[in-house]
Amino acid sequence: MSPEGINTAVNIAGVNFKNPVMNASGTFGSGMEYYEFVDLNRLGALVTKGVAPEPWEGNPVPRIAETPSGMLNAIGLQNPGIDVFIERDLGFLSEFNTNVIVNVCGHSEDEYLQVVERLSDDDRVDMLEINVSCPNVKKGGIAFGTDPKELKRITELVKQKSLKPIIMKLSPNVTSIADMAKAAEAGGADAISLINTLTGMKIDIHKRCFSLANRTGGLSGPAIRPVAVRMVYEASHAVNIPVIGMGGITNSEDAIEFMMAGASAVAVGMYNFHEPVAMIRIIDGITDFLSENGIADISEIIGCVD
């Protein structure tokens, strides 16, 4: 409940979110670097950077390139591995009053399952988000992320190992997002989140080389918002599980656009880099919108444009 008596809380797979705004994985660390700037207690949830069983060193640099109204990244899911993560990041996060969603990555089915098992009964974790869609990982990831059969299979396996609700995070680099959403649902996913980044490329014509050492990278930011809204709309109409929408959100109007398209919650990604306090502004802006429009409960706007 926000002060004005307006309900901004949403429920996703049995987990209560005080408001529908969280960060997108990989754009806020585990909150440590931002916590003096941004009151983590205000967030609907904190979503961690992807974590694997062992440390990953990621891709060579350059990993970042600016593009019109967006950016490319090819981090390659660098992460310190689940041991450090559990001790350091979860230790840190447990002190805050917000949901903790751990983003999980792996090179293989088995690696995903290892992380899921380690976190399955950890009280500090509220949900797991399975990143089957990272375009920068050569092995594993991309196949799960673009083939409905593989996606259903990995979803089933993850669900078998997990006591936590599972969010499957979908790749937009597919012909039919509706088919992918259905596959995740069929596999038992409790929710889906989308979109991950669109695969892109930039060339430095003066140096005659790729702007990213990895050649391709993931496009994010306002540039991709129309694609993201369309996919959230299509996915939320294809399934009955809740959808977490993201891709280019910069302000409360963008967030509300995703919710009207069918998202039950939203995540802010690259815009955190542009404006570290963006999420707080968005949370406040949503409440203002609801109150100005006489909407008592945020659930009234979810999927209202149809």
Binding site: E36, R63, I64, E66, N73, I75, Q78, R88, P276
Partner: protein
């Protein structure tokens, strides 16, 4: 609360709209901009700020080293080469214009390493010179005599113009080098060191990668410490995007994979600890 976690990042970071109070062209394509900014309160030599653009399609902030921070006046000065959209826009801005500034960021040059050193050398290649100016002043302020500190500044040529050299000269000894030999040593800052057969006890360096590699090699051969300031493309500047990595010789505490974040563990590193 989170204070109990020693690995949390406790920073005096400021995110503000800062107003320009002075703009100057120093040399061909090189500009100086002074902002009124609270960043001045805590800025340490070698730290940097992330400066926003006014373009709403260019959403990444630009990292620029702090060249001077005046705590009393509450101003910071950036000196930069206008190479692309952001730096050109900044160079054309007028007094009173405001830019989004996030900082101070990163870890600067370790001053304590210079204590008791006889021959302290600062090598600034081209647009690498600016952060060394604040360092020069800070070193002097710790009580180190002018005779102990030498700045070796490398430029393209007299024609494209020198910059900051006089301000360095007010604090420390200055040796010049130019690519075309139009003033000082013909060649790089390393050529200037070799030409004069200097035997530094410690080197602080900022500049292009080949220069930094040469400094590292020279320092290793001379068994002296060298602290170098690195650059990489950055998205967040705050340590979360993991965009700005440099390979490290040892596993660092954050990544556990021989990767350090230039924006957070750097931009200044002990030359021994990074793999260039």
């Amino acid at each position: 609360m989170a204070d109990s976690f020693s690995f949390c990042y406790s920073r005096d970071m400021i995110n503000e709209k800062a107003r320009i109070i002075k703009s100057e062209r120093l040399a061909d394509q090189v500009f100086s901009t002074v902002f009124e900014s609270r960043v001045a309160e805590t800025a340490y030599p070698g730290q940097f700020v992330m400066v926003g653009t006014k373009s709403d399609s260019r959403l990444l902030r630009r990292p620029i080293s702090i060249c001077e921070a005046d705590r009393e006046k509450g101003t910071i000065r950036l000196v930069y080469r206008a190479v692309g959209y952001g730096t050109k826009e900044l160079s054309q801005a007028e007094n009173g214009d405001s830019f989004d500034i996030l900082g101070p960021l990163g870890n600067g040059f370790p001053l304590d390493e210079a204590q008791d050193k006889k021959q302290i050398i600062l090598t600034g290649g081209g647009i690498g010179a600016p952060p060394l100016l604040q360092l020069a002043r800070a070193l002097r302020r710790t009580g180190i005599g002018k005779e102990s500190v030498t700045a070796i500044l490398g430029y393209r040529s007299m024609k494209s113009g020198l910059f900051l050299n006089e301000e360095f000269a007010a604090e420390v000894n200055v040796i010049l080098a130019t690519d075309d030999g139009s003033i000082g040593t013909r060649g790089t800052v390393m050529d200037a060191i070799k030409e004069r057969d200097l035997k530094p006890d410690i080197i602080y360096a900022c500049g292009p990668l080949p220069m930094l590699k040469a400094v590292r090699d020279f320092a290793a051969d001379s068994f002296i410490p060298a602290f170098i300031s690195l650059e990489e493309k950055m998205a967040c500047g705050m340590g979360v995007c993991l965009g700005c990595m440099v390979k490290t010789s040892k596993k660092d505490s954050h990544s556990r994979v021989n990767n350090a974040r230039i924006c957070t563990e750097g931009p200044v590193f002990n030359a021994e600890e990074v793999v260039l």
